[in-house]
Symmetry: none
Subunit: 207 residues, 4 copies
DNA sequence: TATGAATGAGGATTCATTCAT
DNA sequence: TATGAATGAATCCTCATTCAT
């Protein structure tokens, strides 16, 4: 596959990956121009297709590249001994913030990939996405300690509400962050705000 | 504008709107083919560009067209005298179900439009989306009766959790519905499930 | 298929057909440049692909176009009541000369098509070639009066020798003609030479 | 030149020659891939272009290489003391069969080269082809004993008919052989069939 | 108004050839 | 000598948009 690409020196790999992610994020798969990518990465047209079979191959390579970072920097670091969903929830936010600080483009790319319509990559992506989602849901929320929840409510549904709250909170923050540069973000404030939600949920859902 | 389009007889307008929505939903903005649209709508290529300035103009027209239906069939019908967010929440689901039954493609189109990456329409859509969202949030959740909430929790944040629950629940159902045809959907079951969430939230968040 | 092409006015059709045949004859399928064809035909790049699906579609159209001319101007005109193979043989040469005079490029194109290696068209051509050859052999040599041949020789093999002689004679003449322009060809001389062969074969093979 | 190539050890030369012939036979000049050739020959891309100036140089080298084999294994072995064309004719077929058994690809390559359309090599090949053909015709048929022929026919023309018969017979057999593997060919049967033609021609053309 | 033929800039991809090592 | 990464001109093809009728 992309074995040729992996032999390049890391600096060059980075230039290409960054240029390609940027272009795909801005324009989506179909609209992204390989001309633009090679110009930005400062390589020749031929090289891109020497490293990757075609545009689709490049796109899927980037998806796998990003997935792996997310796996290593996010999923692998979660403390699976913590079975309190709200505590895990908090930890996940911390990890996510760390991830965004270090790899800001990667989240954008994963989002674009998730909603990509282009027929050429849709089926490949759907397979990978589905796999990733089921795997991660299982891993992240399969071992929750349900005994913590009030006994007069359905714990499963409460868990769902917590997950949706986490998702909603995240996209709310991302929406707010859109107009700001990374440096202008006040992560402490975000964390503090999140703690309010956690407290609220604990107070209402837990025994 | 699309004033020329609006002079057409409604049946023809419908054919064009439906053909275009179908194509955009299936393939996204960039990938959608005007050839396909005119073929499906049974009009000539020239006509399409006589009615609409360009592909982008058509897309944005459809967005406005769908927005208006959503406004009329959804927002306008909400009983603003009901200030209990959970009751309103339930009503909204009923209206949404009604809307999906009558205009199944419109929801799809709005979703596609929301995640469209194509540079040509991205900024225009973002402006309209933001506008619509802030307006509707204001309208839908600006007059909530916060006195119903327990006094030891922050009502604003509780409202947010309810909103995110509603959103999460909706997309969960849509995800499930993906493989099913409209006829196979059991709306009563969905409603019953939703009622469980409403009860749960009432029990936990209300006095 | 090429219905769009067939709606063009004949003069334009001719320009395109001639330009394309010329290019394919000179360079073969793969090496032929669609740029060159549109330049020579004085049409735009887009038009060529509006008329024909792709390069292969154009090539196969030309093949069918040439086949039909050969069918009408050659096969259809052969007098099937003449069962003497040598007389028919002579008639075929006359028709062939007539055909070359009127459509000089067509023979060249059919030869190029016959020996085309390019994988993209090879199988399509082989099917058509095989069909044409078996059909024409059947038609041309299926009803020969074998009673004219000496009884001490195998008539079937004698027929084959005659066919090969005809083929060999034709390619010999074509080889000679390569350096000459059409106007410089002395068809009467060719015919006279052929008559010598016919006499010889009659003298040797017939009773 | 290809002097650099000739310094290689024979085993390597063979690998390259065989790989290149195979590729050119399968795909023709233009369509043949130098990548495929170096992969099959197990040499580096750079080497190929170190040994040969360019693709055309490689192709023409192969042509000369094959020509020489044909010269040594075919023309050089013909018994020039045999002036009876039909006997020589028979001997040629035996030699040809021997040649095909030992170098099956070479015949294919010569045929492909003969009908190659690619502009880059066409003129070079035509020169060599013409040279070879005239030389060989001269050598093979220049010293025929014409006194054997019946006096009431033109011997020169009879010789041509015999040559064309031989050519036609050969291509008929090759056409039949196309779908068969070399091992499945029954050379004895071919020879027997050929003898029928020789007898027939002798009976009809000789005194 | 309506048509559909015509356009051409732009896009992805190929591949013989070069060249630094 | 040998390598294989790098190149970029050339190629086929697409498709929104225009325009003469």
């Amino acid at each position: 596959m992309s074995s040729k690409f992996l032999k390049l020196n890391p600096e060059k790999q980075d230039r290409i990956v960054n240029a390609a992610i940027k272009e795909f994020v801005q324009k989506g798969f179909k609209n992204a121009s390989t001309d633009e990518i090679v110009k930005e990465a400062n390589i020749s047209k031929g090289s891109l297709f020497y490293y990757f079979k075609d545009k689709k191959g490049l796109f899927l390579y980037l998806y796998d590249y990003c997935s792996e970072i997310v796996m290593n920097e996010f999923f692998a670091k979660i403390d699976l001994n913590e079975h309190d969903i709200l505590k895990r929830f908090r930890e996940m936010l911390l990890l996510k913030i760390e991830l965004i600080k270090r790899y800001p483009e990667i989240f954008e790319f994963m989002k674009v990939a998730y909603f990509e319509d282009a027929a050429e990559v849709k089926s490949d992506l759907e397979r990978r996405n589905k796999e990733m989602i089921t795997r991660s849901y299982q891993e992240l929320f399969g071992d929750i300690d349900l005994s913590k929840f009030r006994e007069d409510i359905d714990a499963k549904r409460a868990v769902n509400i917590i997950i949706w709250t986490m998702e909603g909170f995240s996209s709310q923050q991302q929406e707010k962050a859109k107009s700001l540069s990374l440096n202008d973000l006040d992560f402490d404030e975000i964390l503090a705000e999140m703690d309010h939600y956690i407290d609220l949920l604990k107070k209402c859902f837990y025994k």
